[in-house]
């Protein structure tokens, strides 16, 4: 099977074309734009159930992933991430690790690809919005999206970034999370955390900040008076 990235970097999507019956692609729930009629879709629970359950209770995402399997050659599947931004693919070699912010994951191809949601460094990375760091190990191809464009930084030494802007990074980098010294998110739900990276590797940043967008939209939400006995 092959994949094409469409429209990059503006509201990028991906077209997966299956070349044989039986080929399959696993995607985040909600990522499907369209598919040929013959493709079968199966829903299954994703790994990291506890974290997924916590996210579900926060009322957003689903606990599940969908597996799309072709029944004939030439069938196609169109996938897109939820936020406004780019989509990239990364082909991982056997045993090659890649660290990906959990909200950025869109889909993957290759049964041998391992997505670890509960490895040692997973939690505590982001400001507690149900996001954590996935450790993905090859072989296989992973598709991930961003809010904004994807800005790659070749770190050689040290570098600091706002954690809300992290999409992912390669092995070779160590990191340390601290609070930001300035006025940042006094009033945001996040903590205004920054990450100090050191070592040699590639850091992928997104040029827009998801909690900032959520904060911007707060004033546009309907207000429900909670019924209380005053």
């Amino acid at each position: 099977m092959r994949h094409e990235i469409l429209g990059s970097p503006d509201f990028t999507s991906a077209r997966i074309t299956f070349e044989q019956a039986g080929e399959s692609c696993v995607a985040e729930s909600g990522a499907m734009v369209a598919r040929s009629g013959g493709i079968q879709m199966k829903t299954a629970m994703r790994g990291g159930l506890l974290a997924a359950a916590k996210r579900k209770m926060l009322g957003g995402e689903s606990l599940f992933q969908n597996t799309f399997t072709a029944t004939a050659a030439g069938q196609e599947l169109l996938l897109a991430p939820a936020p406004e931004g780019d989509l990239q693919s990364r082909i991982l070699q056997p045993n090659e690790p890649f660290f990906l912010q959990s909200g950025a994951y869109v889909a993957h191809m290759g049964d041998a690809l391992n997505i670890d949601t509960s490895w040692g460094g997973a939690k505590g990375f982001f400001s507690g919005m149900g996001l954590f760091l996935l450790k993905i190990v090859g072989p296989g191809t992973v598709l991930y999206g961003s809010y904004g464009a994807i800005h790659a930084v070749e770190v050689d030494g040290s570098y600091i970034c706002d954690t809300d802007h992290i999409v992912g990074f390669t092995s070779g980098l160590t990191y340390n999370i601290t609070k930001f010294g300035g006025f940042k998110s006094l009033f945001l739900s996040g903590e205004g955390l920054v990450c100090h990276f050191s070592g040699r590797g590639t850091l992928l940043l997104q040029t827009r900040n998801p909690p900032s967008l959520a904060n911007f939209l707060e004033r546009y939400r309907r207000v429900e008076k909670s019924s209380s006995n005053d």
Binding site: H151, G181, T207, N209, F216, L217, E218, Y220, R221, S226
Partner: protein, 229 residues
């Protein structure tokens, strides 16, 4: 200071290269990344009334409060990258002593420290609070980084033009303006979906954005779960 805008026009990122001792002042949420030896200090420029409580309330509900951080490269050249909240383009305007720049609040990204930013100047206050808009008046010498929600149109106006306020990024002094409702009458205003418009006349530069943050907020906000109060 050198400012380079990347990823134009859709998800622009401003890369500011600072010489040792140079300082850039940026809107508080704008920092994406920085060299590890860049130092940060805070400054709050507060618009409006109500004291600390009023400021906190407005800020929580996305009101008028305006906060900035100052970034300095200590000892060696360094970089800071900055981005606004919404998708779109960014542009750098060289402010000079012969004109002032009126900037819609959410369109300000950064400026060279030393440029004066005033949120309390007369002429704009009170008009826009219902539309979640406020304007800053920038005066001085040096670069100002503006962002647009969407694409940027730069117009050198010599005459008159009617503009929806949500689409205004900034304009220079030299342009006179009045604020009116877009439609005649209250029912039409409610139904037409158009809010307030700025009626410009004179000679000056006007920057417009091809999307309106308020319209986007209402479209998405209507579908978000309700807030409990």
């Amino acid at each position: 200071m050198q400012i380079n805008i990347k990823y134009r026009p859709t998800f622009a990122l401003a890369e500011v290269q600072l010489q040792p001792g140079e300082m850039v002042r940026a809107e508080s949420g704008a920092m994406v990344s920085m060299s590890s030896h860049v130092q940060v200090s805070t400054d709050a420029t507060m618009g409006g009334k109500g004291g600390l409580l009023g400021m906190l309330k407005r800020a929580t509900l996305g009101g008028e409060s305006f906060f900035t951080n100052r970034f300095t490269a200590a000892g060696a050249p360094g970089e800071v990258t900055l981005a606004p909240t919404l998708a779109g383009d960014m542009v750098v305007h060289e402010l000079t002593a012969d004109h002032a720049l009126f900037i819609q609040g959410s369109s300000f990204v950064a400026c060279q420290d030393g440029i004066s930013l005033d949120t309390k100047f007369q002429g704009m206050k009170g008009f826009f609070s219902g539309e979640n808009l406020f304007f800053l008046k920038a005066t001085g010498d040096g670069p100002v980084v503006l962002n647009a929600f969407g694409g940027i149109e730069t117009l050198d106006l010599d005459g008159e033009l009617v503009v929806d306020t949500g689409h205004v990024v900034a304009f220079t002094s030299g342009l006179d303006y009045t604020v009116t409702k877009a439609s005649k009458g209250w029912i039409d205003s409610f139904l037409s979906g158009e809010g307030l418009v700025l009626n410009f006349s004179g000679r000056g530069r006007l920057w417009l954005q091809s999307r309106n943050p308020g319209a986007y907020g209402k479209t998405v906000g209507a579908l978000l779960p309700a807030r409990k109060e």
